[in-house]
């Protein structure tokens, strides 16, 4: 076998192992190390195991990940997500499908405190889906809204996906964060428009709230969420103005979440312990896969697969749009089967060299990749956010109903992707101002 053939055989073996339920991190490491051993011998593979995982973990930029996870966990366990939904409900409940619109914007708001899509969907799903079902909402709309709007956690800063992408693509994480702001808001607005239009045409899908809240109630609800709004603005403003690095923004955000929870009387021992262990578990899980991805990158570099793909692109992709189209198809197909993190980390070593070869903007590509990951969280058979919502609603609503419910949101995602591809300035305008 040539080195290149070993490389592609390794990728095939990787997909087989993942399909056989081998955890993604282990599959990446096992394939990479056996591949390196086949190419260069066991001592070289062992040498990589001695150095690469430690060097990777001892990375300053990565420390943003546990900080953002901690911030999101504290925000959720201390009841910020509940307060957000309550405020959104009082302000938006009167619209057609108002509760769904409120859940959508509460997810967008919570995304600014949480870097994870599944965490956002789980947090708001527990709160908003039962309320919507109780108010007579269509179960598909209720669950589909939270499953889909939960994906905004990956796009609206802070975002774990952007941190990982930024490190692998060697682009500014702060710029990636800022690049995600407009696409995230745009997605939330398009979702809301679709919900309102559907519910106006067919009011039985999401009847408006019967009781109109008073102005005093509305402002009182805002009083509970203003610390979060200040926190979000400080973090995004600090990143935008270059005052904070992403790690510093994360640490500050996590610290302030504890302070806010403490002063609101919500920081119990249970909240503290659950938040800490949730962040810890999330960090170790993400890093285990990421270390596997690093080893895969080294293995593929040894096989010459990256050079092969780069040359292949050079020979046929005169038009960058063709490459974007090819990448879209790859992400949509793999996104149906792989978890978002695995998808991100497996594909980047292959696709980044191609985008670099065509001199495409890697910030723009990062936004597109994260958007595809969001879509992958909703598409069957492995739509992770759908399963998160299913675990929240139990046997009351079937998996098929939830998948049916997200179909309308996937149509919106097609519109969003077309806009992001057709108008790169949506992603690049704000980062451009940072210079």
């Amino acid at each position: 076998m040539t080195e290149l053939e070993i490389g592609f055989a390794g990728l095939g073996a990787l997909l087989v192992l993942i399909a056989l339920r081998v955890p993604v991190g282990f599959a990446l490491m096992i394939v990479s190390m056996f591949g390196v051993a086949a190419l260069k011998g066991w001592s070289v593979a062992g040498g990589m195991l001695r150095t690469e995982p430690f060097d990777f973990a001892a990375h300053w930029s990565f420390s943003a990940i546990p900080m953002f996870l901690l911030m999101g966990s504290v925000a959720h366990h201390s009841g910020i997500s509940t307060a957000l939904f309550r405020a959104a409900r009082l302000w938006l409940g009167g619209l057609p499908g108002g509760l769904a619109v409120a859940a959508n914007f509460a997810c967008a708001g919570f995304s600014a405190a949480s870097g994870s899509s599944t965490a956002t969907a789980a947090a708001l799903g527990r709160i908003s889906v039962p309320e919507m079902v109780k108010a007579g909402y269509d179960p598909g709309l209720a669950t589909g809204t939270v499953a889909s709007a939960g994906t905004l956690g990956a796009m609206i800063p802070p975002s774990i996906a952007f941190v990982l992408y930024g490190i692998f693509a060697e682009v500014s994480i702060s710029k990636l964060f800022i690049a995600g702001v407009l696409p995230g808001i745009m997605t939330a607005l398009i979702y809301a428009t679709m919900i309102i239009v559907r519910c106006r045409i067919n009011p039985s899908l999401g009847p408006p709230e019967a009781v109109k809240p008073s102005r005093a109630e509305k402002y009182e609800a805002l009083g509970e969420v203003w610390p979060l709004l200040v926190l979000i603005l400080t973090i995004i403003g600090g990143l935008y103005g270059g005052v904070f690095t992403p790690t510093e923004a994360g640490a500050f955000g996590a610290f302030m979440s504890f302070v806010v929870a403490f002063f609101q009387g919500r920081l119990t021992i249970t909240v503290f312990r659950d938040s800490l262990f949730e962040a810890l578990s999330g960090t170790a899980r993400i890093f285990w896969v990421a270390i596997g991805a690093v080893l895969l990158t080294r293995f593929l570099a040894m096989t010459g697969a990256e050079v092969f793909l780069r040359d292949m692109v050079g020979s046929w992709a005169a038009d960058p749009i063709l490459l974007v189209l090819a990448a879209s198809i790859i992400y949509i197909i793999l996104g149906m089967f792989l978890d978002p993190l695995g998808l991100l980390l497996i594909t980047l070593p292959l696709l980044l060299p191609m985008f670099e070869a065509l001199d495409l903007d890697l910030i723009w590509f990062g936004v597109l990749v994260v958007k595809y990951i969001e879509i992958g969280l909703l598409t069957p058979p492995v739509g992770l956010n759908v399963y998160v919502i299913k675990s929240v609603v139990g046997n009351d609503i079937s998996l098929e109903t939830i998948f049916k419910g997200v179909t309308w949101f996937l149509v919106c995602e097609v519109v969003v992707v077309l806009l992001l591809v057709g108008f790169p300035q949506i992603s690049l305008y704000l980062p451009g101002l940072m210079n």
């Binding site: 056989l20 339920r21 955890p23 990375h59 420390s63 640490a251 578990s281 960090t283 170790a284």
Partner: protein
């Protein structure tokens, strides 16, 4: 011994609390560093290195056994969804052997790396000092070694379920 036995859960929880302390330490030290820099124009020396080499390594490797016990490793349920509990336990047992053997190799290599680092008294240069980093090299074999023990206990349990010696249990 079963996967929830206290002799494995006690060290698992201990490692997790140490890692939890490391997360909090990142938060406090970075916030203090930013405050010192913004208010007194005097950042805390070595923050980047201490966070990277000490806290991050602890946060990454010490909770691995905890993650394994709480079904935290990311996997894809594609073909296994239709399997009966005993069939699934058998598949998990086979996957467990694969993972266990790999982790043992991983532990062996990182243990050697830690010993070499210790013998050389490995250090890293900060802006105006040197920090010792060899102790944290040992966190890799410790964290993964505990995970290997957990994986072994778990895979034995999986095979006992697969061969009808025990009823299936959801460990968490």
């Amino acid at each position: 011994m079963r996967p929830d036995h206290r002799s494995i859960q006690i060290p698992t929880n201990f490692f997790s609390w140490v890692a939890g302390a490391a997360i909090l330490a990142i938060m406090f030290q970075v916030v203090a560093d930013v405050a010192m820099r913004q208010i007194f124009a005097q950042p805390i020396d070595g923050t980047t290195e201490i966070v990277s080499f000490y806290y991050m390594v602890a946060v990454t490797f010490l909770p691995l056994s905890y993650v394994s016990h709480h079904e935290g490793h990311i996997f894809v349920e594609l073909f296994s969804r239709g399997l009966r509990p005993r069939g699934l336990a058998f598949l998990e047992g086979v996957v467990g052997i694969m993972c266990f053997v790999f982790v043992i190799w991983f532990v062996r290599e990182t243990w050697y790396a830690a010993l070499i680092s210790y013998e050389n008294n490995e250090m890293w240069e900060t802006s105006d000092d040197l920090i010792t980093i060899w102790p944290n090299r040992f966190l890799l074999p410790f964290g993964m070694g505990l995970m290997a023990i957990y994986l072994l206990i778990r895979l034995i349990d999986d095979f006992m379920v697969a061969f009808g010696r025990r009823p299936p249990v959801h460990w968490e």
